[in-house]
Amino acid sequence: MALATDESVHELPEMTPMGTPLDWSWLRGTRAEWGMNPVPSRRGLTMMDIATGTYGEVLEEPPYRSMAPRGADIDEDTPDMGYILNHKSQVWADNVVELYEEAVARQWSSTRDIPWNELQELPSDIEHAMCQLCTVLTEIEMIATDLPAKWMWRMNHHFVEAKMFLATQIMDEARHADVFRKRALANGGGLLLAGSGDESLLRSILEAKTYTQASALLHLLGEGFILDVFRQGELIAPTHVEKKIFRLSMQDEARHVAYGTMHIRQAIAGDPDVADEIHEALDHGEQFLIEFGTSPVLSSALAMLLGGGSEHIEDKGFPMQSLLATKIFTSYLARCERAGLNRIDRTDLPLELLGIDIDAFDRTGV
């Protein structure tokens, strides 16, 4: 209980000089916990360090639907803000607080941290392919800002750490759109084709009926795919400048995938029926992703970069693309298992064509 006992506060005015009333109840004692004295960890005072007592108790169904902070002494008549995501399993993930701190610690700047002055003149076909890839990435990265933004204001403020993490994701994705836009323009090239096919996947994510469906489509499927594309940056980047862009972006993307995987797991644990609606969303989403991943524009640009130029598209580019596709979809299906979704026995993905051995696949889900 917060209770000031110092005698100097005994005589307190009831009105301001202008005649408006004053409320000293915050000083005379509230029901909120007082004197928590959290101990900073070696890295400083983290959100994990202050998650003590009622401040760290994240309820399954918080009693209020206001912006009042969790742990405060909340007025009974605090207004309903119209939140629709009021159950913990609808937004939470067990790793979300740690991921928030990790995101804050690992922010980078596309302006400062990329050695733009070290870009080199490239063969025309490679520069065009790089600019085409950057055009696609600039287009799709912003879906991962728009989607959380669409849902965040509908999330109960009791789950503030989840909202804080999603705010870091929005910043991350803004930076990705920024860095790929910069790369497209920075080396004598520019933005190239924005194909209409890319929009189907983006629309399916944006128009998902529930946040959990949207999270499955965005974090598990879409960002999982892009995480692996960023990993491929090691093979497709013509110089160390692009490699650094891809490596730093990869770290960000992996956090988003980690949140999504554990959120879906939490959602299914909270309500097993949710699995069906997620499966339904992924049934459609996977088809859109295949369309997107095999789109003539994206796949030709990737094959050019993986082959190291137009001369080696067929003997190096395509075989490498095929090998990496196996890894991409194996990783995706493994994350689905971890999230509590058995996709491999349901998916319409062309597993044989992708080189995935259905019999050897680990279905334990950890």
Binding site: S41, R42, R43, N95, E98, E101, E102, A105, R106, Q107, W108, D113, L227, R231, Q232, E234, L235, H240, K243, R247, L248, M250, Q251, E253, A254, R255, V257, A258, T261, M262, M320, L323, L324, K327, S331, A334, R335, E337, R338, V366
Partner: protein
């Protein structure tokens, strides 16, 4: 350098280097990650070690028992020749270059692969990848072992 890459003390030197310069890791951010290294040697002793990264440092370097890699978030598995070539590249160029970066080497996975029992643990390899790379790049700063 590739000779030292099979020696546990070499990794303790890398850890000491990291722990002595936390400022160089600050922009990459804190880490909470346990990485196993399992490299098979043809006609020699396998390299098996565990690297525990905490905050801005490497808190522990220890040998890894047979099967102990399952206790790590994930582990790198391959052969000591490829592993040694990575360090040769680092010492030659000051840092890993081209297809000798740890991300490159594990991407195709034909010689060194990243493995784990939990996809979330494997994803930590990507989340903290640049810290791990910088840790290994420290090899360029270590004096070659005396003959």
């Amino acid at each position: 350098m590739s000779d030292r890459a099979n020696d546990l003390a070499f990794y303790q030197d890398l850890a000491d280097l990291m722990n002595g310069h936390p400022d160089q890791y600050e922009t990459l951010g804190e880490v909470d990650f346990t990485l196993g290294v399992v490299m098979a040697a043809e006609g020699g002793s396998d390299l098996r070690l565990r690297l525990r990264f905490e905050d801005l440092g490497c808190a522990d370097v220890s040998p890894l028992s047979e099967g102990g890699e399952a206790s790590c978030d994930c582990w790198l598995e391959g052969d000591t020749d490829s592993w040694g070539e990575m360090f040769d590249d680092i010492t030659t160029n000051g840092r890993a270059t081209g297809r000798r970066t740890i991300n490159s080497l594990t991407l195709v996975g034909d010689r060194i692969d990243v493995r784990g029992d939990d996809p979330m643990g494997v994803d930590k390899f990507f989340r903290f990848n640049q810290t791990i790379q910088q840790f290994f790049d420290g090899a360029a700063q270590l004096a070659p072992a005396s003959a």
